[in-house]
């Protein structure tokens, strides 16, 4: 059974069809990339999976269950974590606190036990801290543990946001442009981390990315979108050389020019 099944998904904003009957499946353990020019509808697709947007039609199934019955705040509990293209961290909190919010779905006790900080709450907090420390080790965030987000450079923020999503211990991780704005070295790190998430943690990754070298390096399959429509699916190589993809990126006359 596929982990994620998106069928005929469509969303309209007024007259604009941002996602136009898109269908694809993501298999457990694979890394699946979405590519396409700006405004193609990639982030909108993520927002549909996160249930932030209500689709106009179509369906999304996760682990065989209908995801559209879930509310936006229940998606994380099902095992889907995500990052945002424009980084949505908790600015006035430390890196550690940000990562700990990633553990929210593992919260077990009522707010009254928390106000009294009962021993079992303390035990839960130790567990949360352990889980978060594993993420910190994995992403080499040790130097920033107690830094406030507001003072961190862009590259570190990107990593912290990825860490917060990982702290959730997700089954499916949605990464929206994990390497945009990063240096070549930082992008290399991201490539290794995505590989390790798959191999060591068994996490299925669905990512949006423009950097084709990263996409080719880590993804098993790639789907190209343009103007909300699927234009190609296949391996990174196949999609990159697909005429419709070249046309979408470079304009309608590009094939003749190249030829």
């Amino acid at each position: 059974m596929s982990l994620l099944e998106v069928s005929d998904l469509t969303i309209r904003f007024g007259g604009l069809v941002a996602v136009d009957s898109v269908s694809f499946t993501v298999e457990p353990g694979e890394t699946f990339a979405l590519v396409g020019p700006n405004g193609a509808g990639k982030s909108t697709l993520f927002n549909l999976i996160s249930r932030i947007y209500e689709p106009s039609s179509g369906s999304i199934r996760f682990k065989g269950e209908d995801l559209l019955t879930a509310h936006a705040d229940q998606v994380a509990g099902l095992g889907i974590a995500r990052t945002f293209q424009n980084i949505e961290l908790f600015e006035h909190a430390s890196v550690l606190q940000n990562l700990l919010v990633g553990r929210h779905t593992h919260r077990q006790y009522s707010f009254l036990s928390e106000l009294l900080f009962l021993p079992r709450v303390r035990e839960q907090e130790r567990e949360n801290r352990k889980a978060v420390e594993n993420v910190i080790d994995f992403l080499d965030l040790q130097p920033y543990r107690n830094s406030l987000i507001a003072g961190l450079p862009y590259g570190v923020r990107k990593v912290v946001e990825m860490g917060r999503a990982l702290a959730l211990s997700p089954t499916l991780l949605l990464l929206d442009e994990p390497a945009s704005g990063l240096s070549v070295e930082e992008t290399n790190d991201v490539a290794f981390w995505i590989e390790d998430m798959k191999k060591l943690m068994g996490i299925t990754v669905l990512m949006v990315e423009h950097d084709m070298s990263l996409v080719s390096a880590v993804s098993d399959r790639v789907l190209a979108l343009a103007d909300g429509k699927t234009i190609a699916v296949g391996s990174a190589k196949e999609v990159q050389s697909h005429p419709a993809v070249i046309e979408a990126y470079l304009g309608p006359d590009s094939l003749e020019v190249e030829a």
């Binding site: 995500r82 909190a93 507001a150």
Partner: protein
């Protein structure tokens, strides 16, 4: 410079961060306990009032500083607490020990009920809705005269615990210790909130609702909880304030008071428990300080020049504007900077607290 070597996660989970921290609070505790023997009864009364306003400030801080939700009507919860605690004792015949927590509970439940419809609002719309709430409660006090005494007001009896009464004129030290005890308990609960998942969920909502939701935080429910906790703290403060002042009516709990509470926590420092206390101290002690200054100037023969009506409010507002311009983090923020400067001496840099460039944040998906 101070280095704290951490060897166990519990060191971050504890209430105190390190030994020095512990020593400071032990000292503070000792001073608080010795206070009745150190200062006059009048000043002790003022200090008791500082504690009461600190509790109210903590209430507003939970909502504004921790959860990032505005309120311009928090005097409403002071009123609910004050009227509840007296009515529960006078009409329902409950002892103070039951009436007091119940007053907090009633105020908290009101907070939660009100939050349901208005917590969806953001920014200025939320501010206006809470402002309306404040006005509404003022009116209800007048209308429900049979219960509240209307414009004539309601007399609060002395606090009575197992036959021992607490009166600010007869035994001010006893009243002070009672309220100090209540304050300590409420501070500890607040500290617990900050180190548990609920406190982090509050901060998450404050800084980014979209990603809080994506992390599994139930926005509406968590905001309601924040309103409820905030209202409960403020209600408890209101109950104590009612007993402290002895008599109150609709004019005790006006919009001006709500705005004063807001100014109080902004001056103190939004987002920290310390801020609530610093703000309350400025708010309560400022008139006293001005009065002393006035007397001092009068003896210098400058008397007439400084007796300007409404000067307290003017000075308070001027201080607020100064803080908003020069120290948005309030007295507590300034204190942290000074402390850091001493800790790092002589390595502190001038631009250490300068904020780095903030990156574009979208509100589109809100």
């Amino acid at each position: 410079m101070r280095f704290v070597f951490k060897t166990h996660y519990d060191q971050d989970l504890g209430l105190f961060k390190h030994t020095q921290h512990r020593v400071c609070y032990a000292l503070l505790g000792a001073i608080m306990v010795a206070l009745p023997w150190l200062i006059s009864d009048y000043l002790l009364g003022e200090f008791t009032l500082v504690l009461i306003w600190s509790i109210a400030g903590m209430g507003l801080m939970i909502l504004i500083g921790q959860t990032g939700q505005a309120s311009l009507g928090h005097a409403a919860f002071l009123a609910i607490g004050a009227y509840s605690v007296v009515l529960l004792q006078e009409r329902a015949g409950l002892p103070f020990l039951l009436a007091f927590p119940l007053a907090g509970l009633i105020s908290g439940v009101c907070g939660a009920l009100i939050a349901r419809p208005i917590a969806k609002l953001h920014g200025v719309y939320l501010a206006i809705a809470t402002l309306a709430l404040g006005i509404l409660v003022e009116d209800i006090i007048v209308i429900a005269e049979a219960w509240t005494g209307g414009v004539g007001g309601l007399f609060a009896p002395d606090i009575d615990i197992f036959g021992h009464t607490f009166n600010k004129y007869i035994n001010p030290a006893d009243l002070y210790f009672l309220i100090l005890g209540i304050t300590v308990v409420l501070v500890l609960l607040y500290k617990n909130l900050l180190r548990s998942p609920l406190g982090r969920a509050f901060a998450a909502i404050r800084d980014s609702e979209v990603s809080a939701q994506a992390m599994g935080v139930e926005i509406a429910k968590t905001k309601s909880l924040s309103f409820a906790l905030s209202a409960a703290y403020t209600g408890l403060a209101g109950a104590l304030l009612g007993h402290f002042t002895g008599i109150f009516n609709n004019e005790t709990f006006t919009i001006i008071m709500s705005i004063n509470m807001l100014m109080m926590i902004v001056i103190g420092g939004v987002g920290s428990i310390h801020g609530a206390f610093f703000g309350a101290a400025v708010f309560v002690l400022l008139p006293t300080i001005i009065a002393f200054a006035r007397d001092g100037l009068a003896t210098l023969g400058l008397g007439n020049a400084v007796v300007i009506p409404g000067i307290e409010a003017g000075i308070f507002a001027a201080i607020l504007i100064a803080f908003l311009l020069f120290e948005p983090l309030g007295i507590y923020g300034r204190w942290v900077k000074i402390r850091t400067w001493f800790e790092l001496f002589p390595l502190a840099r001038r631009d250490m607290f300068k904020r780095n460039q903030s990156f574009l944040k979208t509100e589109r998906t809100r």
